[in-house]
Amino acid sequence: MSSAASIQRKTVDVTALLVAPGVGLVLLLFLYPFLYGFLLSFSAHEGVGLRNYVKFFSTPFLSQTIATTLWISFPATVVNIGLALPIAFATRRHRLQRLLTAILVVPITLGTVLIAEGLLLYLGPQGWLNRFLLVTHLSTSAIHLTHNYWGVFLSLVVSGFPFAYLLLLSYLTGIDPVLPQAAATLGASPWRQFIHIYLPLLVPGLAIAFCLSFVQAFSVFPSAVLLGAPAGPTRVISIAAYQAAFEDYDYPMASAIAMIMAGVQLLVVVLILAIRVLFYRGPTVGPKG
């Protein structure tokens, strides 16, 4: 037994070391650049300090990007989660569910650049949507959905709704079906099962899905440039960071904006998780027996 234990101990070290290359890579390419950017954001042409941050918050052209981005990303996230929750619930055991998930994964896979180009054509003044609205007399003139707020908002729904749906679906299917079955046996209608069983159990998943959807929407970039009005109403914070880095070559300022971006995202995530703590915490699986 003691020799077996010693062999065991010898292999433990070697096997555990297999994690080292992966850890090293993430440390070097993720954590180190982040810390480097954090330190860099405090440096300016004349020494060290908060100059970049002061400049960001005292220049409306820069600081407004936070409000602009929130104004697009928050409503988009609410719509995405608001649509995804009932749809994921209704289709969680549907026979067409696998087909539906396969279709919904397409816009995620194609990515925001292609969605932006497609929406430019589809929503544009000559596009099929406006043509349909005019032919059916639902609208008397072409509605403007590109190169403004709505273009970006709709692109966030096209890419964000499937993401939220797939996330929530995986949380919903993780809930032990025994619990709602027990409720049904006691006479609870599907609606009451949802309110009293699923929803409380889903709160953690819902909070995570909301955070992830929001963080994705908040960092919107290609569609804000291609489909929005990047000089004005859709000048989001990513555009400001990109311009600082690649047009002004002001890497300290770009790092500061990236840190502010991360800070706002973190703040919203902490806020959501703080709200989530007010709700039920516990297992989503029923007692075995």
Binding site: V14, G22, P33, A102, L110, L114, E117, S170, P222, S238
Partner: protein, 275 residues
């Protein structure tokens, strides 16, 4: 009771109307790109005046698609190969062993998947520029490894956990060395997991815009970044040739997605975070 049944029916109907509406619009935006790429002239009508293949030829030469495609293939396969080589052993260690800082290491692997690429991409690009790696294909590969390696780790770990440790013990008892244990026992048993992780990383890397965009130079653009620049500069080129390129990008992505969907569940494309 009948009232309840009616509301339930109406509700179900409403759900499918919303799903249908969404799918019709997504299909519409994809079809608009495909139709336009074959269009001779398309103004103020449901369908173009005529159809032609000429835009594919002009897109190919205008956007130097042959070199863009070569770069894309190089980047994607390097990222898949390296992330599997680094990620699978890490997943094995995490599934099989308990060690110090394991929770911190797990957090380290989850973070790059939760933080959006645009947020960490700018500091990463800054570091790569300082190292003179940005603008090169090596820089693009390094940047794309940041989400790819953690993704492989998270996808493969449950597959390792499913393998009975007694199989490894048995192989050891019969005298298999680490090398033979790995290639004759673990790799065959892990094939579904490795295949799933590899295909998912492949699809995600083809579509990864932000990191490639921030780190690529003129000679190291992948297809999706080249597409961005051509849409960005719309007006200089004919819209149809931009869309011909978009269709080539779409075909590349969707073929691999179809292959991937044979082996994985669509929900796996989205990060799953355990509480």
């Amino acid at each position: 009771m009948r009232d309840g049944a009616l509301t339930a029916k109406l509700w179900a109907g409403l759900i499918w109307v919303v799903i249908g509406f969404f799918i019709v619009n997504v299909f519409g935006l994809i079809a608009a790109v495909v139709v336009n790429s074959f269009a001779t002239r398309w103004l103020g009508t449901w369908l173009p005046a005529g159809f032609t293949l000429q835009w594919y030829g002009s897109a190919w030469s205008e956007f130097q698609l042959d070199s863009v495609l070569i770069v894309t293939v190089e980047v994607v396969f390097a990222v898949v190969a390296i992330s599997l080589l680094v990620g699978v052993p890490a997943a094995y260690a995490l599934a099989r062993r308990d060690f110090r800082f394991k929770r911190a290491i797990l957090l380290l692997f989850v973070l790059p998947l939760l933080v959006p690429p645009m947020t960490y991409g700018i500091p990463l690009a800054t570091v790569l520029y300082r190292l003179h790696l940005a603008g090169t294909i090596v820089g693009v590969i390094l940047a794309n490894l940041v989400p790819a390696v953690p993704f492989v780790v998270l996808v493969v770990t449950p597959f390792v956990e499913q393998i009975d440790p007694r199989l490894e013990a048995a192989a050891r008892v019969f005298g298999a060395g680490t090398f033979r244990l790995f290639f004759h026992v673990l790799v065959p048993l892990l094939t579904p997991g490795i295949l799933a992780a590899g295909l998912l990383v492949l699809v995600r890397t083809i579509a990864m815009f932000e990191l490639t965009f921030l780190t690529a130079g003129p000679d190291s653009q992948t297809l999706v970044v080249a597409l961005y620049y051509s849409v960005f500069a719309a007006g200089i080129r004919a819209g149809q040739s931009v869309d011909a390129m978009a269709v080539i990008y779409m075909a590349t992505t969707l073929v691999w997605l179809l292959i991937a969907l044979r082996f994985v569940n669509p929900t796996q494309l989205v990060t799953r975070v355990k509480e």
